[in-house]
Amino acid sequence: MAKLKSLMNVFRQESIWISIISIFLGLLIGAIVMLIGGYEPILAYQSMIEKIVGNPYDIGETIRSIMPLILTGLAVAVAFRGGMFNIGVEGQIVMGSIGALFVGYFLDLPPVLHAIVAIVVGAIFGGLWGMLVAWLKTSRGINEVVTCIMLNWSALYISHIVVRMFMMEEGTARSKLIQDSASIEIPFLIQWFDGARIHWGFIITMLLLVGYSFYMNKTKWGYELRAVGSSKHAAHYAGISVNKTIHRTFFISGMMGGLVGTFEILGVFKYLAIAPTTSGLGFDGIAVALLGMNTAIGILLAAALFGALMYGSQGMSFGADVPGEVIRMVVSIIIFFAAAPGMLRVLFKLRRSTRRKEVSARGNDSVSH
């Protein structure tokens, strides 16, 4: 009960309302942009909403596009809480997919076990790739942003080499398919959702979301991670091994990334394509984590907003003939507003409104809590 109450409290906070107003404002300005371009905003938004929740298939696909965003959001958030910036989720995703693909293609295991092994190996691949960043940081003092970006490309090209060398499907630009025993599709849900690609990754993602919150706030490792994140000096003083914590942080963060790749292989594509660039999901994760203020519930909401907008925006093209460039602009505007409630706060000078006393008292409250 108390948990539920504190959950509901989130909605009572000023910041949530500001976020909602911000999103609304973003929609409004997006509408103006569309009007200037000569498109119909109301029809466009209607089409977007229809695309998001219009039928079981689209609902399923919306959920499918939200899932990886939750994971990449978590990946980035873990590192943020540890005081670091993981811009290398992209590469960790690729490594995760390589791991899952290897197990899925080469090993012969009974159905459920096969998938589990593939998931574990994919997660570990991503985790180790993340830990490489941490190791370079602690042993060589290289800033993680630099190594992350370089390792993103390294991972991509490693994936090209690996696919070409071991499991290229003749006449295509992709690997061979994983075995059916490694698939994590949920057939009855897929049927339910009219063919949308729903897989067990969804359940695991939700568990990880809860696990993230628990790990951060209720375990001693989370305590150490947060301590290092807020003050390396104080953590060192307290006897916490800062380097070890950095390694652990990046391992966990990389694992989340690795799982994204794993799920895409085992649940969505069944193969790894030789892609010219990485997916971009890792970069979206940065925005999700920031927008979600690194909290589990925030990441869930932010990923839902992001995923729904991205998936739903395709409906704007179909239903209202809005071209891709304008759609991307409108989506960016909405996200920009959602991410900048602080800006709105300034615009409205909420602190000096007629509710001045209440707000400033509450503002002070939030400072001290």
């Binding site: 209720k218 375990t219 001693k220 490792w221 305590y223 150490e224 947060r226 301590a227 807020s230 003050s231 000096h233 104080a234 953590a235 060192h236 003083y237 307290a238 006897g239 916490i240 091994s241 000096r352 001045r356 006393k357 400033s360 008292a361 002070n364 409250d365 400072v367 001290s368 809590h369």
Partner: protein, 512 residues
Amino acid sequence: MTAQHDIVLELKGLTKRFPGIVANDSIDLQLRKGEILALLGENGAGKSTLMNMVFGLYQPDEGEIWINGQPVSMDTPSKAIELGIGMVHQHFKLVPPFTVTENIVLGMETKKGLAIDLKSSAQRIQELSDRYNLNIKPHAVVDTISVGMQQRVEIMKILYRGADILIFDEPTAVLTPQEITELLAILKGLAAEGKSIIIITHKLKEIMEIADRCTVIRRGKVIDTLEVATASPEALAERMVGRNVSLHVDKEAAQPGERLLEVKDLHVKDSSGQDMLRGVNFDIRAGEIVGIAGVDGNGQSELIEALTGMMKIESGSIRLEGKEMANLSPRTVSERGVGHIPQDRHKHGLVLDFTVSENSVLKSYYNSPMSKLGILQESNIRKEAERFIESYDIRTPGTEVLARSLSGGNQQKIIIAREIEANPKFLIAAQPTRGLDVGAISFVHKQLIAERDAGKAVLLVSFELDEILDVADRILVIFNGQIVGETTPSATNEQKLGLMMAGKLGGESSNG
């Protein structure tokens, strides 16, 4: 002055409530033209809240602010500045890469067409500087000037904006003794020029030296307003803390026992490879307080970090009860029974964005009863924090507020509680009273002495000679990475110590 005073600022029944606490309870206060009014109170008494209302940062829940006989509504700092009020905050608000002039004119630049006219501004700053003896170099870059000068730039900022009422929030907390003397002279000069000054402080010495009157606040209420000329420091201190405080430390003679800590030929280099400790030898017995006196930067920090395992040593040995503990991890050192009240409580002593509870278990969180199987035992942790709050009189709205939101004194009390309650054999206290008020200082000193009396070895590192002389049983003087002299409080005085600290006089038994 006669009874006929010009009242430039008057507060009438000012009340400010925060959730769970009345920060200011119907405060009345008058500031006369050309006087220096000291606002005295313990940490958390409500001084800063009050001044933030005067400066427009907070809105009062009740009461009025009158300026020059007119009621005003002070809703923003810019309004306050408009009405001639300026505030120098404890933490400076300067842009380091900008020049002094740029910092001062920031936000009210004189423009020549589109360009900012810095030249005439610099001229005006120079004039003001000369007039008030601020000795400011308008073209210096803020990054490169001393803390004292930065503070004078802050003063200049408000003078430049034409302030007549100047508020100083703990202005001497960050200054060296020499800078303090300079500042006090400047304040007197400003008052003589007709500026009215409020100075928030808890340093009695300074009040006695410069203030005309002193208003004492305790727990959000005005207790008394005294004419400083006729008041004694003891009277002020008593009103501030609400009971008799002795400004002198009472302690029995030490009864040193066995040798507990033994440091031999300790060499430490800093990260850039410079020798910071060059053969330090000393020992501490159970039941004694050894004070390390010295000017900052002579190796004190490195000594403490080496003793606590936070820094690797080059050579030498550190033995606790005969067992070597050089180059062990900080955690092992702490588990061997070394407590450490660090010099910088914000950087090391606390994770400011952790709650009071979380900070209370900063060194014990990983073991039972604070965590079991890796899971934090929140109720045990909260109980620990409550115990600290109770027995060390930590003023906080609760255990789950961020350490950042507490006053400096209360933050320090969390650290002291944590380190002492861990029951160490050897306690290192580095600058344990920096920035604390009279009541808190005496509390800390009493705790250190109680530890000594309980048979612990205590190492007190301080830049305040008063403190070393009052609290330590034995004094070691550190200079340039070596112990250059040893003495006792009874055998020395501030002058002699000062000379030793400058490396000019050996102690009665030098072992460096």
